[in-house]
Amino acid sequence: MMKRLRIERATGQLLAAHPSTTSTPGAALRSSHRASQVPVRHQSSSAVEAKSHTPLYEEDGTDHSRFPPLEKLPPNTSALPSPLPSRALQSAKLAALHARLSLSPKIPLQTLARTLVDASADPNPQFNNSSLAFLGSTIINYHASEWFMVHYPRLPMDVFYAAMTGLAGPAPLHRIAKSWGIESAAVPGGEVDPGLLQFSLEHPGESVLGFGYTRTVVGKINKNNWQRSVASKVIYDDDFGQAVPPPSQQPKEENNPAEEEESEEFSESVPLPKFSPTSYGSEQTRELSEKAHANFVRAVVGAMYAHCGREAAKSFVKAHVLSRHLDLERLFAFKHPTLELAMLCAREEFDPPVARLLSETGRLSRTPVFVVGIYSGNDKLGEGAGATLEQARLKAAMHALKAWYLYSPGERARVPSDMLGDEDEGGAEKKKSWEPVYVDIGELISR
């Protein structure tokens, strides 16, 4: 891509490729967003160089006598940051995606096309998916958190945040988008297929996602890796326990001009550094791509809610997000499990825990195994097998603690949103039989 760009700039063909007039109504709606930097895509730049004297170029620099366009695009399409909504009806990819997700026919293809435009591709909030993504994120996070709250009422807050991130955070949503077969456009623009996910690696856009307050010391927290208390996480931070970044992303704003300068220098045949911050596969690009994919999934849920209502959005979230497998047992890391278990037993007024040897084999051999159980009175709380008595005791204590934290009232416990179905009769029936869910008294050790 970059190599091609250099040829383009050398030939100077692009000077005529920036018409400033806006002819279509969609283009007219867009105000002066990104008037200066219009992304231009070139499909056959080598041809441009070879036949630079022929006057046959369209506005995007393509020699249409050699490469006839598959689709008749409206004029000045490539000047737009994202495809026109009317083109959504012609996109085969978009229709296939609509059918693949079994979306309701109430959701028009234009809306689905809009969910595929990230805020980094088109900063105009009337054309990108930021509003739908915000709506969708609230719905996904609500259903995920209420599911955890009801089904695992004793999860410690940190583990709860980790579980939320593992089920509804950007990483799992990125995987969901990938599992839907989403392809992304190399560079966003008005002429790309509306069925491709469009996000820009060069200009990370701003989209408000989720609730939370920006802490005054957020810079120091990020810089010095300060610990935040669980209580302050609940109050200030977002749904995943992550500190909310300040609203204006100063470092990113600073990055952009630098990159532009870089590309301009590069156009004057200065060799590009091998790994620029936006080169493919770097940490930053991976994060941006993950964010764009996650926002797309959230926007689809938001569109579902907007067009089909609450129940449809809920069943969609249940089918695609909550049905995924997350091993909660693997989310725990302990520091002093025996001590924590003793405190738990003291708080709950159980007998203090005692570790007892249940069975052993090969004590004098190279590979002994001890099976240790932790008892409180006559009840066994947990057991573990290890190569030393200490190891086995720690494992038994961790087992007992996990058994405490992972208590579940059962798969069939109902969440509060099950009671919201008020229109139909089934909802009324459900409403009658609501029983309050179990609520734990709180963290064992508060920080």
Binding site: P156, D158, I445
Partner: protein, 137 residues
């Protein structure tokens, strides 16, 4: 002191909750002139519209490829593709091949020796020599 959290990402299980057809695109290539494409041309004219209408999840692209054998290429969600050369085939044979492409998961073909493959843990747990009282023989 308190519990720390580790991070994990949930695993998808296609068909649990929602099912996504793994074939996302089928490319059909034909030649107007060559005899090996006769069946393919007939298929495109007669059977393809119905097949495509029955499978809106799949994006179909039809394009000429002069002086080459006709071919049907399935593209899958996992990024792989499965090309099948359909030279000298009758339209209904090609239909069978397209159904094969539609039903494939895109994974490499491998021998399935275990009757069940699952990430759910077993109901009775993993057998351990240190538990249970065994059975006297």
């Amino acid at each position: 002191m308190a519990v720390k959290a580790l991070q994990a990402v949930s695993q998808g299980r296609n068909g649990v909750g929602a099912f996504i057809l793994q074939c996302k695109r089928i490319d059909l290539h034909y030649c107007d002139w060559a005899g090996s494409s006769r069946g393919m041309n007939g298929f495109i004219k007669s059977l393809l519209p119905k097949f495509a209408a029955a499978h809106p999840q799949i994006e179909f692209t039809v394009s000429p490829r002069p002086a080459k054998h006709p071919v049907a290429i399935g593209h899958y969600i996992n990024g792989r593709s499965k090309p099948i050369c359909v030279r000298n085939m009758e339209p209904y044979e090609i239909l069978k091949k397209l159904e094969l492409l539609r039903d494939a998961s895109g994974e490499k073909l491998k021998k399935v020796t275990k009757p069940v493959r699952s990430i759910n843990e077993s109901v009775r747990g993993i057998w351990s020599p240190y538990h249970g009282n065994g059975m006297p023989l």
